[in-house]
């Protein structure tokens, strides 16, 4: 028993040494192809060069990106994030893992923004298929994805907008018992659900897991977003009743407000992951296009 353990340890050490050697060769070649810029405090590398180098060194794309950032080499795809996002913050984003629940109206735009911005790892969950009534607002819904899984469309989209992201796609409607296991592996949860029924459960389980929740909810031309820290104030008063009771069932959802609230949620996620001050903790951001009202309400 003890010799098997020792063998395992030696083998794990050997593998660690091999990885370390592989990484130092990778970094040495990366530093040769990286270009320095006078106006930036870091070097840059094109995404295509970084991808080729990762393949030739048998390193995953996400690992290659992480190693580049750690060595102050920024993939050029993020150059226009600077200086709103510093190199250190870009590195934090690349190390971050989020659970995004719902890939419909809000979730599609949130994924688009966070994938492009450089969040490193996503768990995506949705058990729904696209239908024609989604096409007015859901960016992942197209004539090609009708009747197809929303979460699969999301995974496909993420692959083509940012191959450095890691993605686990779960094609099912999550239940309470699914959540603790998933939340062990993330830094933050995004509520992009449709309907009020599951929101309270997601809120409770996120709080139990000790994670921040960034939530958004819309109806017609009215939308709201909020950040909830464990034990903090939350907007669950908006979610009283059964799923059919939400105003969205009578008013529908306009693309204008859906994309705006998704942007507010994505901005908040970036702030939290880069350790900036949350702007919506204990508060609710309100936007209404009918009356052109924009406000930050205290819960």
């Amino acid at each position: 028993m003890s010799s098997r353990k020792t063998t395992g340890l030696v083998s794990s050490r050997q593998s660690g040494v091999a990885d370390s050697l592989k990484h130092s060769l990778f970094i040495s070649e990366l530093e040769k192809i990286a270009r320095s810029h006078q106006q930036f405090p870091f070097s840059c590398v094109s995404s295509s060069s970084l991808l080729r180098l990762a393949i030739s060194h048998n390193i995953t794309f996400s690992r290659a990106q992480y190693l580049a950032l750690k060595h102050k080499i920024l993939p050029e795809r993020y150059i226009r994030n600077f200086s709103s996002i510093s190199l250190a913050e870009q590195t934090r984003l690349a190390e971050s893992r989020i659970l995004l629940v719902g890939l419909g109206g809000l979730g599609g735009y949130i994924l688009e923004i966070l994938g492009r911005s450089g969040v490193g790892s996503f768990i995506l969950a949705d058990g729904d298929y696209f239908e024609e009534s989604n096409l007015n607002r859901q960016i992942l819904g197209t004539v090609d994805t009708l009747e197809k899984s929303k979460v699969e469309a999301a995974r496909t989209r993420l692959e083509i907008i940012n191959p450095f992201c890691r993605c686990q796609a779960i094609f099912s409607f999550l239940t309470r018992k699914d959540l603790p296991g998933l939340m062990e592996n993330v830094d933050l949860v995004v509520d992009a659900l449709g309907g009020i029924e599951f929101r309270q459960i997601l809120l409770e389980e996120t709080s139990r897991a000790g994670l921040p929740l960034v939530t958004g909810f819309v109806a017609g031309t009215t939308g709201l977003a909020s950040t909830v820290y464990p034990g903090g104030k939350n907007p669950s008063a908006f979610w009283q009743g059964r799923s059919g009771d939400g105003a969205e069932n009578r008013l529908g959802n306009m693309a204008t407000i859906v994309s705006l609230i998704a942007s507010v949620q994505a901005a908040e996620v970036i702030k939290i992951l880069t350790e900036q001050q949350s702007g919506m903790a204990g508060k609710v951001f309100l936007a209404d296009f009918e009356s052109l009202t924009f406000d930050l309400l205290e819960m």
Binding site: L106, G194, G195, A247
Partner: protein
């Protein structure tokens, strides 16, 4: 006294014409709901001057009252 009232989403049809309502001193958001004939069970949360204040707080001249139904679309 004059109170600024904003009803959102399905409740927007109850908005007073110019956004203001004349009420008596001592009035509360609950009085406003009655005055505008807004069904109580459709109102899930009320804000006064941007604060989640409930329906029973006593209002002052020029207070802003925001009235919301259940909202959960995505």
């Amino acid at each position: 006294m004059k109170i600024q009232v904003s009803c959102f989403a399905t409740l927007s049809k109850y908005n007073p014409p110019d956004g203001y309502l004349e009420v008596e001193d001592g009035a509360t958001p609950a009085h406003i709901l009655d005055k505008l004939s807004i069904p109580r069970d459709e109102v899930k949360i009320v804000f006064v001057n941007g604060q989640n204040s409930g329906k029973e707080v006593v209002l002052k001249e020029n207070d802003r009252v925001g009235i919301f139904p259940a909202i959960g679309g995505g």
